[in-house]
Amino acid sequence: MGHHVLLIEDEPNIVEAVRFILSRDGWKVSCHSDGASAVEAVARINPDVVVLDVMLPNRSGFDILRDLRGDSATAGVPVLMLTAKGQTKDRERAEMLGATAFMTKPFSNAEVLARLHMLVAP
């Protein structure tokens, strides 16, 4: 099994498609859809990399990112933030809060794989 990625996204069809391509590429994939318990999920699952959507039920991706960076147990995990294309302010805010990389929706499957490989590269 390859690297472990935690996908925090609440759109089922995106989760399904991304999970499919990552699994086929050899990744171990965990998924989480609720914003309120996302920080706890990252701490529990301890993935190699997190893909985090900005808009989630009950809590925004920004708040989750802030908490992840504020906790020594999760501060170092690479976070690939999913922002909406054209929402520059989202990207700036994610950058300020410590996102490792960004990807804008809509993204291509090849882009997802390339970004994640880059984030876990030694």
Partner: protein, 485 residues
């Protein structure tokens, strides 16, 4: 008479001569000369002269009409004599203009706008030092230029406001995110189907269904956005359904409408008309029903007394219904509207119709409630639908979650809105109270989810479709889940 005019006539004669020279000098000469500041003060006399020439009056005629000598008028017109009060009014009447058009004050706003216009184009060498002369000599052109400056500034403000709205409007931002998420899902899924000729049939069917559902939602969201962008006013973007509009409206207020806590139903229309979230007639109608019921509930159960009693009874809706002698559904609605800061935990409420469709959903902290997908069949609210009038209490917890869970109180009511011969309408309520705040029923908590696809419970007997969160990702796990049915 204004300050500046007074100032002119208190200056030494030498400086006033300079002003006169400024006015009388050929334009080419003026451009090259460094004129003293006094030359650009308000020039009422100049305006009088310009106006007189414009309407074709001789100096002698105007002087006669005003009851002054021609030589005195000449001094006035060349700004050598102070003018104001009665004489200014008399001259204005003879010149057929309002006195304010002759006084310096009349042009101050105009000149302010012209200065603004000049400041917005610093690259153009505007003769700002001669602005008063310009206004005095060409009042029509000045007004036109100032009006255009004002219109330009207004348009800039409007563009800035629209840009700000596009960047910060939470509803528009949510609608755009929804649209882009749909496109992302379609793009990713379509790529899988196109790039995987050997994809197993079970997955191919699944992805094709996903494409269909995403396409339908994309169409809905796009239509809503187009309506929003076409609307001239400050209306909010359309979200998918009228229920979504009501949800956004209530969620923005924490599911609590402080304005209606006094029980005044006459405030409802004002709240609806002022709500950007409620853009469709259907959304407004839903909100009207909800808010009228809210106000009625608040009138019957005023907050301070109800809150105190609710705490005493550990938020148990059945005990509260008995204590108040009111319907259980009303108590549930009221409990769900209590301030979170007072109850020290978020109370959720789900309302569904006889078909199981959610018509209202205030999520508790630890459980996501689906807005566009079928809900978890294990929710006690669906058990209540099968036994109308019977209150049910159960302990539930989010599948895969930690903590004590939630105590659910459910009840269904049967109505015949159209009378005895009309159709039977069923509505069920489920109140979700954090277990730490309630009396917990015996026995273990039942794991429940939001909707099947996002629920990790592997052994769920009520699963209607496989979860995308289940461990492993192979066709075997998928068919195993489906085969259970």
């Amino acid at each position: 008479m204004g300050k500046s005019c007074k100032w002119i006539f208190t200056q030494p004669q030498k400086e006033l001569d300079a002003a006169q020279q400024f006015l009388l000098a050929p334009a080419a000469f003026r451009r090259g000369k460094n004129w003293p500041a006094v030359a650009v003060t308000a020039l009422t006399g100049t305006r009088i002269r310009e106006r007189r020439l414009l309407i074709g009056l001789s100096q002698a005629d105007l002087a006669r009409a005003a009851g002054i000598s021609s030589s005195y008028l000449n001094l006035i017109e060349h700004n050598r004599r102070r003018i104001g009060g009665k004489l200014l009014v008399t001259l204005a009447r003879a010149l057929k203009v309002d006195p304010s058009h002759l006084s310096e004050g009349a042009g101050s706003e105009l000149m302010g706008r012209l200065r603004e216009a000049a400041a917005t184009h610093p690259d153009i060498a505007v003769e700002t030092a001669r602005i008063e002369e310009f206004v005095g000599r060409f009042p029509g052109w000045s007004a036109l230029l100032a009006t255009q400056q004002q219109q330009g500034a207004e348009l800039e403000r409007r563009v800035a406001a629209l840009a700000d709205r596009l960047g910060h409007d939470p509803l528009l931002s949510a609608a755009l995110h929804e649209l882009l998420s749909r496109v992302a899902a379609i793009r990713s899924t379509a790529s899988i189907l196109a790039d995987s000729p050997d994809l197993e049939q079970v997955w191919r069917d699944r992805f094709q269904r996903n494409l269909e559902s995403d396409s339908a939602r994309l169409a809905e969201t796009s239509e809503g956005l187009v309506r929003f962008l076409d609307s001239p006013g400050e209306t909010a973007p359309a979200v998918a359904t009228p229920q979504d509009e009501l949800h956004h409206f209530l969620a923005a207020r924490g599911f609590r409408v402080a304005e209606l806590e006094g029980g005044d139903q006459s405030l409802v229309e004002g709240l609806i008309s002022g709500a950007v979230e409620l853009r469709s007639a259907a959304g407004q109608a839903l909100a009207r029903d909800h808010l009228l019921a809210y106000a009625a509930d608040a009138a019957r159960l005023p907050l301070p007394g109800f809150l105190e009693r609710a705490r005493e009874m550990r938020l148990d809706p059945l005990k509260l219904a008995r204590a108040h002698g009111l319907p259980l559904q009303m108590i549930m609605r009221r409990l769900a509207s209590l301030p979170e800061t007072e109850t020290r935990g978020r109370i959720g409420l789900v309302v569904c119709d006889g078909a199981g469709a959610l018509t209202f959903a205030k999520p508790p902290r630890d459980l996501s409630l689906p807005r566009h997908a079928p809900a978890c069949a294990l929710w006690p609210v669906f058990a209540a639908l099968r036994a109308p009038g019977t209150p049910l209490r159960a302990l539930v917890k989010r599948a895969g979650g930690e903590g004590q869970g939630l105590v659910s109180y459910s009840v269904a009511e049967v109505m015949r809105p159209d009378g005895f011969d009309g159709p039977e309408v069923v509505r069920a309520y489920m109140l979700l109270v954090p277990a730490a705040l309630a009396d917990v029923p015996p026995g273990p908590a039942e794991p429940v989810g939001g909707t099947c696809r996002l629920c990790p419970r592997a052994d769920c007997p009520a699963r209607r479709e496989p979860s995308i969160l289940s461990d492993g990702f192979d066709s075997e796990s998928l068919t195993r889940n489906i085969g259970r049915q």
